[in-house]
């Protein structure tokens, strides 16, 4: 039997067998090419449908953990209150998650494990097996995963694949991971040479993944402490269309609305939650028509602070994984890296002025 945390290898010629056997175990989801450089996590049955080299999917794997629409409560409409809380889940394996997407899932895990726990999320999470896949190079110029410490694997998976040419080296992280090795039976022991090759690849990668924005990640909270009244937010005010796309595609955005739906017989109803967005105008409105984030600048600022400042105190980590989805999707061309750069530039200008 394999040791609990260890490395094995999968020769490329066995990859097909592995995927077929994996898809026979339970529903298998992986990145699939949708044309025009778009990718999506979808059910697959064979390796030929999987895009092994892909840029982040349009929607993150969040859609499986926190479905866009999810029933929380079922009830009979009657004089008596008869309601039952429910959870819908599906056993599945997700193959091919990049480190940024694994980081996104880790963020959601922290939020929904915090008391009061969200058992809808947690139940579903327990049914999902995660297999990571390393990026040896940047996906594209929008990625900033290194800045937020999400460019190298740091747990949160059952198995983790790294492509080393003729074979994958695979890190086995959990008992579920070990079980997959046993059942699929396609893996071989790794040697010292395999591990050395992995270290060499990572060394090379460390050189490529660097200096996305000229700031050390540990200084980012401080940058945001200085930037609440920044003019950069004002600029975004004029550009942002308040469509909410940036939050829909973000792997760490989890705000939701709760709604009600009664069927046509008016006998049965459900209460369900749907994704919501802090970028939409009514989000922070209260009674009397008062809105505490009326301006688009205030709403964009809120989004950035929820990625780079507020979660630091609560969870000790960024809630940006640097996946670049918000930038790729924005019709107004608002770029996360550019915003950070501008905040930095403005902050430096201000610091300079203080010295002059």
């Amino acid at each position: 039997m394999q040791h609990h945390t260890s490395y094995v290898i999968l020769k490329k010629e066995r990859f097909d067998d592995f995927i077929s056997s994996l898809s026979r175990m339970q529903k298998l989801v992986a990145p699939v090419a949708k044309g025009f450089n778009n990718y999506s996590f979808e059910e697959v049955h064979s390796a030929k449908n999987i895009a092994l080299k892909y840029i982040p999917t349009i929607l993150p794997a969040k859609k499986f953990f926190m479905p866009q629409r999810e029933t929380l409560l079922e009830y009979r409409v009657s004089k008596h209150v008869k309601a039952e809380a429910v959870v819908e889940y599906e056993k599945m394996t997700i193959f091919g998650l990049h480190t940024c997407d694994l980081a996104g899932i880790q963020c959601l895990n922290m939020v929904f494990s915090e008391r009061p726990k969200d058992y809808n999320y947690l139940t579903r999470k327990n049914k999902i097996t995660l297999i990571g896949l390393e990026c040896n190079e940047y996906c594209d110029e929008y990625a900033s995963c290194h800045l937020v410490n999400a460019s190298f694997p740091s747990g949160g998976y059952d198995l983790f694949f790294t492509d080393l040419g003729d074979y994958f080296i695979v890190h086995v992280n959990t008992l579920t991971g070990e079980r997959i090795l046993d059942i699929t039976n396609c893996f071989e022991k790794s040697s010292e040479a395999n591990l050395n090759e992995l270290y060499r690849m990572r060394e090379k990668k460390r050189k490529i993944f660097s200096n996305e924005i000229p700031i050390k990640s540990r200084h980012i909270p401080e940058l945001f402490d200085r930037s609440f009244r920044s003019l950069v937010w004002k600029e975004l005010d004029e550009r942002c269309l308040a469509c909410g796309n940036c939050t829909n595609v973000c792997p760490t955005c989890y705000c939701f609305d709760i709604k009600e739906e009664v069927d046509l017989s008016l006998m049965h109803g459900i209460r369900y939650r749907v994704w919501d967005s802090c970028q939409l105008e009514p989000f922070a409105k209260i009674s009397g028509g008062i809105n505490f984030r009326k301006e688009r600048s205030a709403r964009q600022r809120h989004r950035y602070y929820r990625k780079f400042r507020y979660p630091i105190d609560k969870f000790s980590r960024f809630f940006c994984t640097g996946c670049g989805r918000c930038t790729r999707t924005c019709m107004a061309g608002i770029s996360l890296k550019e915003t950070l750069n501008e905040l930095l530039k403005e902050s430096e200008d201000r610091l300079w002025r203080r010295w002059l």
Binding site: R76, K79, V81, E90, Y119, Y254, L266, F283
Partner: protein, 278 residues
Amino acid sequence: MEKVALKDSSYQLKRAKILNIKKLTDKEKFFEIALMDRDYLDHEPGQFIMISLLGIGEVPISICSSPTRRDSFDICVRAVGKVTNKLHKLKTGDEVGIRGPYGKGFPVRILEGNDLLIIAGGLGLAPLRSLITYVLDNRRDFGKVHILFGCKEPKEILFSDEMKKWSERTDLHYACTVDRADPEWAGNVGVITTLIPGVDIEPSRTFAAVVGPPVMYNFVIKELLAKGIPERQILLSFERHMKCGNGKCGRCQIQNLYCCQDGPVFNYEKIKYLSEAF
């Protein structure tokens, strides 16, 4: 896709029955409610619950009675929309769904032994009534108690019977004001801040508890600070949209704080830096 019942869900409802309904004003009604299945709410003054009308929706409402009474609790609801209008149509004996209590209320253990200056604007009296009735039920644990109430017009006054009793008590100081008088009104006219300078307090041992519409806060805080009450001893309750009550949905966030879990009651020192609070 499989579906199973989720016993531990924080969205599960407790059954509750309406025991008593009173009309307070044109827009506000009072409800006395008891949890069924021999359950107690066990709240602290200033906390809120989520009330469900199945098929219509769920809204946050402050508990307005003292936890010293365990068998039932009170709420006071203004009809403004879907759920609250339907609530107003319910009758004694009807059932509603409840979750909670949620949030951090007034820290009564810390308030004990001190003087209190309670300032309520309009419907802000609802959450403060839970504190006031708690204090009156445990009167010996508290020092001097001042209650100031203000609203737009005399016909908006909530709990006028109780207010009359408060005004007759010798162990508390009660004052009331309206923005606009009507012909029968014999009391004070003017915004609530006009009552504050006249109150005789010893600031170092006084805690202020303030609940009212957002505009009221800036003006009241200024007066309280002018009186010399320390920032830490000014307690404010905030209202934001709430959907989950669990610190997840993001609706009630004031910068880095969640109103539903970190609040709704905050001390001024903790929240004064937050521009999205006021």
